[in-house]
Amino acid sequence: MRIDNAYFTRRKFLNSLLGGWLGAVAASFIAPIVKFVWPPYKEPDEVKLVFADFSDMKPGEVKNFAWGVKPGILKRAADGSFIAMVGVCTHLDCNVTWQPEKRQFFCACHDGYYDEEGKNIQGPPPKPLRRLDVAVEGEDLFVRKPGAGAKA
């Protein structure tokens, strides 16, 4: 069908078909490249520790464990239960250190302070230290992401 003086010509239509196809093919090649270059590094869902290493902690004592590649903090509460936190400052990801005399966590990067429960009390950190769930099952101590659900 011939349209006189059309703005969108047959030529433009064919060109856009070709361009569209080229775009689709390019996308199908870019996608795997992107996936390769941005691979997901996920934090572990749970970490299994040997309970014996931590069973003799006194109430108020703080020990470290490995949460993936980040430091984890295990603290025995006054009633004997454990709380676990990720020992990474919520400001800009520096590792925090425990100051036992002052019973607080200190982040050296920008002078951030957290109390012994992990709540941010001073300095730039916007949020408390991230909590993790702890469960003692027989000889193992499991630290899990909160709400990640238990193993059955």
């Binding site: 064919l14 078909l17 070709l18 196809w21 080229l22 689709a24 093919v25 199908s28």
Partner: protein, 141 residues
């Protein structure tokens, strides 16, 4: 001297087939069965190694290696981790050739058109019968 055309094809074909033959030879030979050093069960890479598509049955210890300290003594031969991955590769292969076919179809149309324009001297109105055309187009329109 007109070099016989067959020589060109002999050379090109052998240059392109040579590596294929080498690869087929490599894929066909079983990897060296060496004594396995103690391979500690590695936690991480759950996926076993993948296996080459065309080589049927044979060889390949498909084990991933131990971490760090112990040197790996078994070769890693590519293999698919599951039917899903194999299907994905086949689908990609079909899509690849289909896409190439469509693109070449379009490109041939485009080539024919640009050739036609060239031979009709569309862009050089002085040399064409349309030399008195006041609306001569320029390349890039």
């Amino acid at each position: 001297m007109r070099t016989p055309r067959i020589l060109f094809w002999l050379v090109t074909v052998s240059l392109l087939l040579g590596p294929l033959a080498a690869a087929a030879q490599q894929a066909g030979t079983p990897p060296e069965a060496k004594d396995k050093a103690q391979v500690e069960a590695a936690a991480a890479p759950a996926a076993p190694a993948q296996e080459a598509k065309p080589s049927p049955a044979p060889p390949a210890a498909k084990k991933p290696a131990a971490k760090a300290e112990v040197k790996r003594t078994e070769p890693i031969v590519p293999a698919y981790t599951g039917i899903k991955e194999k299907t994905a590769v086949i689908v990609f292969f079909v899509w690849l050739w289909f896409a190439i076919g469509v693109l070449i179809y379009f490109l041939r149309q485009w080539i024919k058109e640009s050739d036609r324009i060239y031979w009709a001297k569309y862009y050089e109105p002085e040399e064409s019968p349309r030399k008195d055309n006041p609306m001569a187009p320029t390349l890039g329109d």
